[in-house]
Symmetry: C2
Subunit: 455 residues, 2 copies
């Protein structure tokens, strides 16, 4: 008995070792291609500089769809197509300015960006500024205290969090739910401290939801440097704000998810992607041009290396992540309607910085499975972390229809992400070529490992 | 028996668990202080902006010594003192220019920096440019082929290496040994492709050694963008170069290592530091202003938290790492002469980017020991890698006298390091505050862990 077990043990052990060696050899080729002959950086340059920022419904978003299809077609993948989706269409307009009147009677121009989806001010508005620190303070106030005023919510990032995404989650509610709460109490408008890790002059826009039962009010974010000034003045007395924004809503449009795939030997599908739309300032370089080129490049490399996948490997350039996620929702609904067999999905939507590993959304067993197959990445490719965590907004809805699938989010050094996120500073020059290319290789390697080992 | 073993096992297991929990709680305080009340960023700003680059022997190096002592004194450490060292004194001078004559008969101005320690050209020199790819090619040539020419060595960074330090090691010999080999063959001068990961206009200086048996020749680095141009032209025919540099050597000076310490309960010493000198361009922000403020801040935080160390914790701001390492050599020799009891040393000299862990220089047992005590850092503080590796140039000589000590080098995201290393681009603005502060916390945490667990 002992010798049989021993033999079986040895056989098992050798097969694992051989598989890890084979994986490591192939993954080294992926890294070589990404770092020696990479096309992601030039693709990102094109998307950022020749197209620019690309909010859903804009001319630039349409150009980005055209570009995406063209690139996937140029790489000669087995199937390339557009998936139509109905999308919201909001525009910032051309007027956007605000001044705070301080206790010395001076107007101080502040840097603002309307939050995405805000209504305009209908000319210049002028109101008392009710300076609060947190959303919870607002929730405790009476209508009489708030009515007719512009509410300011100033919760700052908690610098002590090592993961900046934790800070974003913690004070994000002032953006996501601040306008709703201010509506309920009859406020004239809402302004927030930008959800940002740094003190600088760039306001950070982003999405939120109105409460349809109440009158919609203008909502904007203020740069953190200006917020520090406002908070200091507010200790000296009452402030007021003049603000003009002419953002507006249009009828829904048709836009597209852009899809390219390598056909597998079975009907099982591994999807991976980022989002093609961005906010309407800067160039959407880190958010999420990086994820787009990570995903395209991962598939290009596998094809370039002559890889023949078991699963169908489907690269999806999602539209409308930023303000509605109708790309992700439609992709999931169509997958189900077409009776597709989805087993795994990966997303890159945390910037083009140094990749550190993958967060795994799934069962304990699925997390352990990923940790097992990822061993070559830990050993030879300086990826470190494979833990239970969040995957991504775009691929999220797929799990509603395929609860047994495993999802992975590319984990990236997040320290600088919220310096650029949703701002005019998120431009091509903020992305380092090597770090971007390492992200492409990490995506390609994990897609390969899932394709090889997911049965 | 079984129950005794079980009890012992439980006791052992709980003591480990309790220790890890205690460590984690204290380390969290270190991170809170670094991220909420950190002083490293302002200290780095001062060193970069109010002093600037600070090559050994310069007025700026003297100001940096004064500043270092002042800061350590302000933090009220138990002992603060200067350790005198004899240092070389080389200056770039004021003239530094070069033009390459291409095959169309046009002079093209190229960006150069004399390598540190080079002799000048004694007026304008004009010579044939012998364009080679590697040092090995040069070694195979005859005196007749090389004599009177300026040798160009163009080995580029291997982009496929994930660790950029591996690329630096691989093509570093063209800088370290290129001048020697060119001297032997009677070359008039030597120019090299900058040891750089990026293609841009910044030449990268750095040290090298002459062969004293031969005539000393001028040596310089060329920016990678200009190198690409030169290499393309050289395929069309013979090039020549005009070059002027008036760098010069002075008599040795006296300078200082700057030392501050918290006295421990035993005579055992843990040293840690970076180097106060820098090359004479840019501001020495990543190399090694970051290491200086990492080390000072680590000690400040431990003192601020009221920590009472077992070992004497000694922060050393080493002088002259860049061109001679006389700070490190003198520190080690004095330690031995004074019969000091050194058990561990840490160095930060890889920039102010995201910390990833520590490289451990020591026995297999010492590496395993560090891996064991580092578990809280892996679990709760997003540090990932604790492997056998290199520690640092400054603390290196200590090991000659204390072969049993363990040494650690702070491991840092290296992807952008060789964009800035030894260039005019290495300025304060290239350092991110959060990443710098995380490096301080990592240093503080590892010093604490060694102090607690090293018996």
């Amino acid at each position: 008995m002992k010798s049989i077990f021993y033999t079986l043990f040895l056989a098992f052990f050798s097969s694992l070792t051989i598989s890890a060696q084979t994986d490591s050899t192939f993954i080294r080729k992926i890294y070589d291609e990404a770092l020696n002959n990479g096309e992601s950086y030039e693709n990102l340059r094109y998307l950022c500089k020749e197209i620019g920022n690309r909010i859903t419904g804009s001319a630039e978003a349409e150009m980005a769809v055209y570009w995406g299809k063209q690139v996937l077609t140029k790489y000669n993948f087995d199937t390339v197509y557009l998936q139509p989706i109905e999308v919201p269409h909001w525009e910032r307009g051309t007027k956007e300015a605000a001044w705070v009147l301080n206790t010395s009677g001076e107007y101080f121009k502040i840097n603002i960006l309307a939050l995405g989806g805000s209504v305009g001010t209908n000319g210049m508005m002028d109101a008392e500024l009710l300076v609060l620190e947190t959303l919870d303070e607002l929730k405790k106030m009476s209508r009489a205290e708030v009515e007719g005023k512009v509410v300011y919510l100033g919760e700052a990032f908690n610098a002590a969090n090592i993961r900046t995404f934790d800070s974003y989650s913690q004070c994000g509610a002032q953006r996501w739910n601040g306008p709703k709460e201010a509506q309920k109490l009859g406020a004239a408008g809402l302004v927030i401290r930008s959800l940002a890790s740094e003190v600088d002059d760039h306001p950070h826009t982003g999405s939120f939801g109105y409460d349809d039962a109440f009158k919609k009010i203008p909502a904007a974010a203020i740069s953190t440097a200006d917020c520090n000034q406002i908070e200091a003045w507010s200790k000296q007395g009452q402030l007021s704000i003049k603000m003009e924004m002419d953002c507006r809503w249009y009828d829904n449009d048709t836009s597209y998810n852009v899809i390219g795939e390598m056909t597998g030997k079975t009907d099982k599908i591994i999807s991976f992607g980022g989002h093609l739309d961005s906010w309407d300032v800067g160039e959407g370089a880190h958010d999420d041009g990086a994820g787009i080129v990570h995903s395209i490049e991962a598939l290009r490399i596998l094809k370039e290396l002559g890889y023949k996948p078991e699963h169908t490997l489907r690269c999806v350039l999602f539209m409308n992540e930023e303000n509605g996620n109708f790309g992700g929702k439609t992709y999931a609904a169509m997958a189900k309607a077409n009776n597709e067999n989805h087993v795994a999905a990966l997303e890159s939507d945390r910037g083009g910085f140094l990749p550190l590993g993958f967060d795994v959304r799934g069962t304990k067993k699925q997390v352990e499975f990923v940790q097992k197959i990822a061993k070559p990445l830990q050993k030879d490719f300086q990826l470190y972390t494979f833990k239970e965590g969040y995957s991504g907004v775009d691929i999220g809805p797929l799990r509603d229809f395929y609860p047994d699938m495993v999802q992975l989010g590319l984990s990236i050094n997040s320290q600088e992400y919220f310096k650029y996120h949703h701002t005019a500073a998120d431009v091509f020059e903020a992305v380092n070529q090597r770090e971007l290319e390492l992200g492409c290789a990490a995506m390609g390697a994990m897609i390969y490992l899932l394709d090889q080992h997911l049965k």
